[in-house]
Amino acid sequence: MKRGVLHPGIMDLAKYPFLAEAGEYLRDKGFNLEQLGHPDWMPLVEKAYGRIITASSGQVYSSDIEKLKDLDKDMEILSFIVAVILLKAAGINTLTRRFSLAEARRSEKYLEHDLGRKYVSDKAVKDSDFPLKIIQELFSVKVVVENDEFMLSVPNYLQRAVHFHEKEWKLVNRRVATGFVHLTAHETVRLIRTELGQYINSRIQSITLTSIPDTFKARVQDLVQLATKFSDAVVISSDYPPCVKHAIEVLEKGENLPHSGRFLLATYLLARGQTTDQIAPLFKNAPDYNERVTRYQLEHISGSSGKGTKYQCPSCDKLRSENLCFAIPDCDGIINPIQFGKKRKI
């Protein structure tokens, strides 16, 4: 593993165990995989497993770090690393992605908290510097701090904010001056969540495991078993329009798709003749998946329940205004995704 440049303390590592420095820290303290395989460390394996299970159900693992003793802080760091090893050994991408996203959301809380602390007391100056350094180092995004505001350059902001579909993230609904977008600590951190998740995911992917301790094996099996719950059985036709493909991808990654995106997906697939039974599994990977609610909503949209109004697929114009359009040349001349691939170009 490469040497880090951030010089975090043990508290920082407990908060941000995905940093390269976490590995160094443990090595310096004399931990190694063989040791962790000793039955005495079984509680640690359980803690790591729990961390994954929490993530897989769309929740965020949390512990009251501020109150932990140093030894427990080590456990925080170690349980993350063991979780990574379990995931790597299980080799289930969906699970790894979910774990990465949940861990990103976990550290997001600390990042936000630490960023906001700068102005509480002088002593805390270091606290806010560290998250800024993480953001700069990991994502090459420079965040400028001015008074109690955080500022990102307009291009840096746009490259991240376009992945959100809520109207308040549109540039027009932001305070913009001389090339910078003004944000709160919360917004700044929210903006990099996906990247943080991808960063954690890529760190896990880059690890090579030769063997794992026997004491880990049962839990690895459990993870493989668990993964069968997430189906990838949905057929994605290559002739779906880009907006629909994008919506499916977001769901597949286990990320949150806004209501407007789900509506697009449902109305489009229904119009293409799929049934609610065929469509429902698509939503399985969504962080807030609830089978009953999903079915109810789908039936409502299809007009087979309630007042019986069948909803139409939204227009390209509407989708464009919701940042859900990803037009390609084949989209020329169509006004609704339904026409994609049917109308030949003039």
Binding site: V154, P155, V176, T178, R320, S321
Partner: protein, 374 residues
């Protein structure tokens, strides 16, 4: 276009590139850009890479293209098909066109051409008086008002680019489009990597599309706690405040009114502000990161005028400054029911008359489909 008309236009274009090649300005990183061109009555030829000025000059002289384009994007391999070009960035571009400004003068200088018998009529008619067809082509000719209104949009845009988006004056180039509007090119490293989606959101900012009342302090509930933006604030907040209040003294009264009118009324207000203060650019142009855009200094075959840079926008008169085709007299038959002003001289109206006019006026009318060589 008829053969004899094509000949005179192509000749005029050739002459123009011979005399005025210095006006042709290839943007920076020219070897990484894709070029394209069209010939009169011909299709688009694109995916061309150009080594240097000499090669470009040669192409212009040899082909006398009616229109020449150059990509806003830079590629590793500009001459390969799109999927293999390897996109490396693109200038931010904007297109402001008088026809998108819903101006009341449009009718006064638009000519309707019957789609089937090509008969010409000055005003809008329900059917062609000669053949009864209901299909028309609309041709619009030079209008001072259209240009001055377009200039206002350009100024709004340049101001937002500078004050809000931090793009320096030196990085913003303004061009007359060669017909009825303006093209703006921004050359700024920070913006060149933006994809189509990001540019779409940037355009919404510039056009003031999608603004929420909440952004300006108006809430759905608990409206009495609303705090409106102040005049002098940066960005849209300041502009909205200025438009709402007009002057400092009116702030308390207007504030009370707005709060009592509520959320939906404010949304309507924002929409009015969008129509007056939002910049009317063509969003499709800015979103397109693979566009080939009219080359600076080239002739526009919709008019025979040139796309040229406006160093001083206020003084710029396209019908003088961009009218760069030769002056020798040409005999044409003109059927042009509206008056045209070029180089401070008036031409027309003409009702199927044989006349002798300078070549630039002849080419202008031929390009507009309102005249033919004798």
């Amino acid at each position: 276009m008829l053969e004899k008309d094509t000949a005179i236009v192509e000749n005029a274009i050739k002459e123009y590139y011979f005399n005025h090649f210095d006006l042709v300005n290839v943007p920076p990183k020219h070897t990484q850009r894709e070029f394209g061109y069209q010939k009169i009555n011909g299709g688009m030829i694109r995916h061309i890479a150009i080594k240097d000025n000499k090669e470009l000059h040669l192409l212009l002289m040899k082909e006398a293209p009616s229109d020449v384009y150059c990509s806003n994007a830079y590629y590793s391999f500009p001459n390969l098909p799109m999927s293999e070009k390897d996109w490396k960035g693109a200038d931010l571009i904007f297109d402001i066109d008088a026809k998108d400004l819903t101006l009341s003068c449009r009718n006064d200088h638009s000519v309707f051409k019957c789609g089937s018998c090509h008969g010409i009529m000055p005003g809008k008619q329900s059917a062609c008086p000669k053949c009864g067809s209901t299909k028309f082509d609309v041709v619009s000719v030079a209008c001072k008002n259209c240009i001055s209104e377009s200039k206002k949009e350009v100024k709004k845009l340049v101001r937002i680019l500078g004050e809000d988006l931090g793009i320096k004056k030196e990085e913003t180039e303004v061009y007359f489009s060669g017909n009825e509007g303006f093209h703006i090119r921004v050359i700024n490293d920070n913006y060149e990597m933006l994809g189509s989606q990001e540019r779409a959101d940037l355009v919404d900012y510039i056009m003031f599309n999608g603004a929420m009342p909440e952004t300006f302090g108006i809430k759905k509930q608990n409206n009495s706690k609303s705090t409106l933006p102040e005049m002098g604030e940066a960005g849209w907040k300041g502009r909205v405040a200025t438009s709402l209040f007009g002057s400092k003294t009116k702030v308390p009264k207007v504030t009370r009114q707005i709060i009592s009118d509520g959320y939906l009324a404010f949304q309507v207000k924002l929409d009015e502000i969008r129509q007056t203060m939002g910049v009317k650019v063509d969003p499709k142009v800015t979103m397109d990161i693979h566009r080939i855009f009219r080359l600076e200094g080239s002739v526009n075959s919709k008019s025979g005028l040139s796309k040229i840079q406006c160093k001083n926008l206020d003084d710029f008169d396209p019908f003088l400054d961009a009218c760069l085709i030769g002056e020798e007299e040409v005999n044409i038959i003109a059927n042009c029911p509206v008056l045209i002003r070029l180089k401070n001289k008036k031409y027309g109206p003409y009702a199927n008359e044989q006349i002798s006019v300078p070549k630039y006026a002849a080419v202008y009318m031929i390009c507009k489909g309102l005249a033919s060589v004798v």
